[in-house]
Amino acid sequence: MKKNNRASLSDAQKFSLVRREAIYTGLALVGLIIFWLAAGFGTSSLDVKIFHLPLWAVLGSVGVWLVAILISALLSKKLFTDMDLGGEDNGK
């Protein structure tokens, strides 16, 4: 998906895009919560260690952080749209 730069959108289009972006963000949160549950509690019964740390602790902390970074990158670089914030009705 290619990121768009739309400077000449109407107010209605901008608000519609912003609403869609908020929904993407909400869905990203749901995805992260599921990953958090699976990565931590989901693997806590496994007796696996990475660098002397239990697998659940690594996945549940650094893993969650990395997934959050990936989500932020996906949202901000692919799904979110650049737009002029001035507003066509500004000052009227």
């Binding site: 109407s10 107010d11 209605a12 289009q13 901008k14 608000f15 912003v18 609403r19 972006e21 908020a22 993407y24 963000t25 909400g26 990203a28 949160l29 992260l32 919560i33 958090w36 931590g40 509690f41 806590s44 660098f51 002397h52 740390l53 239990p54 659940w56 602790a57 549940g60 902390s61 650094v62 969650v64 952080w65 959050a68 970074i69 989500i71 932020s72 990158a73 949202l75 901000s76 670089k77 979110f80 749209t81 650049d82 737009m83 914030l85 001035g86 507003g87 009705d89 500004n90």
Partner: protein, 498 residues
């Protein structure tokens, strides 16, 4: 001989801190000078909407990360282990959520409405001066609680590490933050927050390095911990970390933080959407680094401190004691800048929003409504004075610190979230949301939250935020369905359609 050694030690400890505070004040004076001639209200309260991506990220993170993230949090990690990090990592959602959900919508609306505060937007959405006044009151009330906790936490840390008195610490960093915020306003707050966030990260790296060194290396510390403290390696920490804490923290420091006015106002302050997108990414990287880094250091502190947290006076003393024991004297002064930076960046962020609530949301609105002319000079004087007075009042409260200060901090956090979560979320994304719903939600939800806190009433032993947030939702929905719909002119601004 002994006195000269003490004097030298004092100088080594204080010099980095004094230098850092001087830089903060210098930045604010520079900002005030650069902003001269611009619209004062806009420049003082939202920095003329000129923030770039990096500064937006850093100021959002620094305001969000308080002194308890650097002191109480890692102290708890020392006590309960990796479960604490697993719980604290939910905070990585805070930046991308608030900027992703509100960032652009608030920015678009602020420009349309010429709004400089969150309360401006609430007033315009629900067409209610009463609701705006309640919102301003809630902000000032709960912010004062949070700021007091920051002052007390910072000064206690200063006293524990340097050996100077609590009052000396309060005067050194407490007065400095009040002065630089009063002078420079939001722009200075954003720039100093950026310096603070950098110093927090430097502090974490330094402390981590010296803790590993003092503990004989990572492998040695972990092997000893596995033998002596097996509970640290279990998510529920043998009962010390019940599921209710995980659930509550997702609400308190994760999802509901999108409604904190001090975070949402950042959406009004940035320059363009490119900056916002950058800030989402940078902010998530930084907040995760800080949370995992400092809490992991708390666990590794077992390599330095051989007793339990209680042996050192409780969890709040774990990090100060570790700093003193693990770090060379010439770096201790530098190391405590990190946690103190967390404290002052939160105070400055709250102080400027509290000041705007009084001056912009209450006084200037009242003057405009009653056709009172307020000269730019008077606005400037009142804004700076209000900031200084609020800061000074909290400073005085902190001089005689109340008991249970950390509970007051969390109480204030939950109160703000209860008051603003549904009002902002539903108000900005749901057409049906109306004045009655917002009023019932904000006032009723906050009162119920405060009452359950006062009575100590809990359901399933969950924090009272769960009751507050549920009640405020129910009240919002009831009010929205039985109350009058918002007028078409308002809906056209907030929900434009072709």
């Amino acid at each position: 001989m002994e006195s000269s050694f003490f004097a030298l030690r004092s100088l080594i400890l204080l010099l980095p801190l004094i230098f850092f505070m001087a830089v903060m004040v210098g930045i604010s004076i520079f900002v005030r000078h650069k902003q001269a001639g611009k619209n004062f209200v806009s420049s003082y309260f939202v920095g003329n909407r000129e923030l770039g991506g990096l500064v937006l990220a850093m100021t959002t993170v620094a305001t969000y990360s308080s002194v308890s993230s650097f002191v109480g949090g890692p102290g708890m990690a020392f006590q309960v282990g990796f479960g604490w990090i697993y719980m604290a990592v939910v905070q990585v959602t805070a930046i991308f959520l608030v900027l992703g959900i509100y960032g652009k919508r608030v920015a678009l609306l602020a420009r349309k409405l010429n709004a400089v505060t969150v309360v401006d937007i609430i007033r315009a959405r629900f067409q209610s001066d009463f609701l705006a006044a309640v919102a301003a009151f809630v902000i000032v009330l709960f912010f004062c609680g949070t700021m007091t906790a920051q002052f007390v936490g910072g000064a206690k840390l200063f006293a524990a590490v340097t050996g100077y008195s609590y009052e000396a610490g309060l005067i050194l960093f407490g007065l400095t933050v009040v002065i630089y915020t009063s002078i420079g306003g939001f722009r200075a707050v954003a720039l100093t927050d950026t310096c603070c966030a950098i110093m927090m990260m430097v502090g974490i790296v330094l402390l981590l390095h010296y803790v590993l060194k003092a503990g004989g290396g990572f492998e040695n510390i972990m092997t000893t911990l596995e033998t002596n403290n097996p509970e640290l390696f279990e998510p529920f920490s043998f009962g010390n970390m019940p599921w209710t804490i995980y659930f509550t923290q997702w609400l308190l420091v994760g999802i509901c933080t999108i409604a904190l006015p001090q975070s949402v106002v950042r959406g009004i302050s940035y320059k363009n959407t490119q900056g916002l997108h950058q800030a989402m990414l940078i902010g998530t990287i930084v907040v995760g680094f800080m949370n995992i880094g400092i809490n992991f250091t708390g666990i590794l502190a077992h390599g330095v401190l051989t007793g339990t947290a209680a042996d050192y006076g409780g969890v709040d003393n774990v990090i100060p004691t570790t700093i003193v024991q693990a770090m060379p004297i010439e770096l201790v002064g530098l190391a405590i800048i990190g946690p103190l930076a967390a404290s002052i960046s939160t105070i400055s962020g709250l102080l400027i929003v509290a000041s705007s609530a009084i001056i912009k949301d209450v006084y200037l609105h009242w003057a405009e409504k009653n056709n009172h002319t307020v000269t730019p000079t008077r606005i400037k004087f009142l804004s700076m004075t209000a900031t200084a007075i609020i800061g000074a009042a909290v400073f005085v409260i902190a001089l005689t610190p109340p008991n249970l200060i950390w509970l007051i901090n969390m109480f204030a956090f939950g109160g703000l979230e209860t008051a603003f979560f549904w009002t902002l979320l539903l108000g900005l994304f749901w057409k049906r949301a109306n004045k009655l719903g917002a009023m019932l939600s904000m006032t009723g939800g906050t009162i119920i939250y405060c009452a359950t806190q006062a009575a100590g009433f809990k359901i399933f032993n969950l924090h009272q935020i769960t009751i507050g947030i549920t009640c405020s939702l129910i009240l919002f929905l009831i009010g929205s369905y039985i109350g009058k719909k918002s007028d078409d002119a308002t809906l056209k601004i907030f929900f434009p359609s072709d």
